[in-house]
């Protein structure tokens, strides 16, 4: 197979794009998809102060890398979850990558905040991924606001977005569907959030990481057991295999046809603030401050 750009031997085939690329042309293609994804939603410009939430995994290191390649200046934010045998590796990997990019890295240590994930899970008996997500979103947001970043960036790829969309559609979770845009504008108390990899699949992200020697953490979190979500991704992969392009169509169709219908109704952002930390909440005290107060 030949690269459709330069006719050299292709190293990657992308059926959904009806294309095959050599190494260099694939990286070019990947960057162009990121540019397209950023422009489509006017996510940010090179004037903006960007903060990338980095876990040490493939997606977050890739988005940090590609933004750097495209000339954006982006700092990193690592949340140390306090999970033994996992968080140390993730932190070292992220620190080494920050050094490679000569980029600034902010580290939040959940142990010091009294919120190490294994402890919180033990206390609350809640599902680890749910409570961990809640705490991470909180610190992403608070850190971005505290240091005056214009945009908080995450490494979510097309498979993540489509998996979540699939789950939200199967159960018609209308409130969640409204928030399934690759760009969430800033609101009072909430930082602007962007997902520049929304057009790129998990596979494409892996290939980019491999071609760019990105040394990422490949072990899964030992607390993660999100089997339902994984099964949705499996079904979507099979459907994509039978009809290449279904994933991106599903997500783009949603963004184009569905999101505008839903957004019209959405005028009710949360006005109330946590009396301890100031985070938007429906209660007196926000969920994370309540977790901190648990014995």
């Amino acid at each position: 197979m030949k690269c459709i750009k330069c006719k050299k031997t292709a190293e990657v085939e992308l059926k959904s794009h009806n294309a095959a690329f050599c190494r260099d042309c694939f990286v070019e293609f990947f960057k162009n998809q990121v540019i397209k994804g950023i422009k489509k939603f006017k996510m940010f410009t090179d004037k903006d102060k960007l903060l990338v939430a980095v876990s040490g995994g493939k997606d977050s290191l890739t988005v940090w890398h590609v933004l750097n390649e495209l000339g954006y200046k982006a700092d990193g934010l690592f949340i140390d979850l306090g999970i033994d045998g996992f968080s140390e590796v993730a932190k070292k990997t992220t620190e080494a990558f920050a050094e490679r990019l000569s980029a600034k890295l902010i580290v939040v240590d959940l142990k010091k905040e009294g919120l190490a994930i294994p402890d919180v899970v033990k206390k609350t008996r809640r599902v680890a991924c749910a409570v961990c997500g809640q705490i991470k979103r909180y610190y992403f947001n608070m850190t971005a606001l505290k240091y005056g970043y214009d945009v908080l960036i995450t490494g979510h790829n097309l498979d993540d977005e489509v998996g979540r969309l699939f789950s939200n559609v199967l159960h018609w979770k209308m409130e969640y569907l409204k928030d399934q845009s690759p760009l969430l504008p800033a609101e009072d108390g909430l930082a602007k959030k962007a997902k520049p990899l929304w057009r790129l699949t998990e596979f494409e992200t892996s290939v980019y990481a491999f071609f760019n020697d990105i040394d990422y953490v490949s072990i899964s979190c030992p607390l993660s057991k999100n089997a339902t979500f994984r099964s949705y991704k499996k079904h979507l992969n099979e459907i994509e295999f039978d009809s290449p392009g279904t994933k991106i169509d599903f997500y783009q169709g949603f963004l184009k046809n569905m999101l505008p219908v839903l957004s019209k109704k959405n005028e009710s952002s949360i006005k109330n603030r946590c009396k301890i930390c100031g985070y938007p909440t429906l209660a007196d005290v926000c969920g994370v401050c309540r977790l901190k107060g648990l014995d």
Copy 2:
């Protein structure tokens, strides 16, 4: 396992309803689900003149049978598609069943109309299921209007509706999504249409047919090759197996949360009429009259 109603030995387990039933209690359950489905959408009353579209298959004979059991008087409409080795069997089966119910059966012979499906497929080179669906819908509608029926009834079950919903959602076909209600009201030129089995799965319908000795055509149409749709049903079956109740939640969630959002925009019924037959159409001559005119 015991029947949850009468404590006799159960013959069917329904995980999505967290239930198991003996033969009699299952049939009772099935009838109650049909009653619930009819009431929820105020589909029709026993004063209405009902026409059931019957193909000779499990679903259409079942809906005809259960409506009869529930005291509704419903005539049948059989469209002879003119498919050799298939349509003769379907017709004989349907006629025998009409006799069993002592019900009137109207037969439309597509060969006489110059629209035998194999001929039309040959002429148009269109996908058989698409063109057959178009022609059947046309005659369902025209026959219901011609003989003054109040409601046209089809045997679509939950799996049919959910499979179609899944396909329409994956590609966000907004116009089709708007029409995915178990009840479509009458419009000028279009009969009222109802699907009383919308709450019942394919499995439940099969069990009802078996328990009631319904002798249906079990061979598939030799022209049908709808592999994509079948693959969607397979994925939905696997998801249902992992999380019983997902199918009905998916459809009911759609009806409750999504359909109202979509319907608000839908005020544009087709005003134009076919100048040959009077059927609603966007063109001068409707699709079926154009098919009749082909050489």
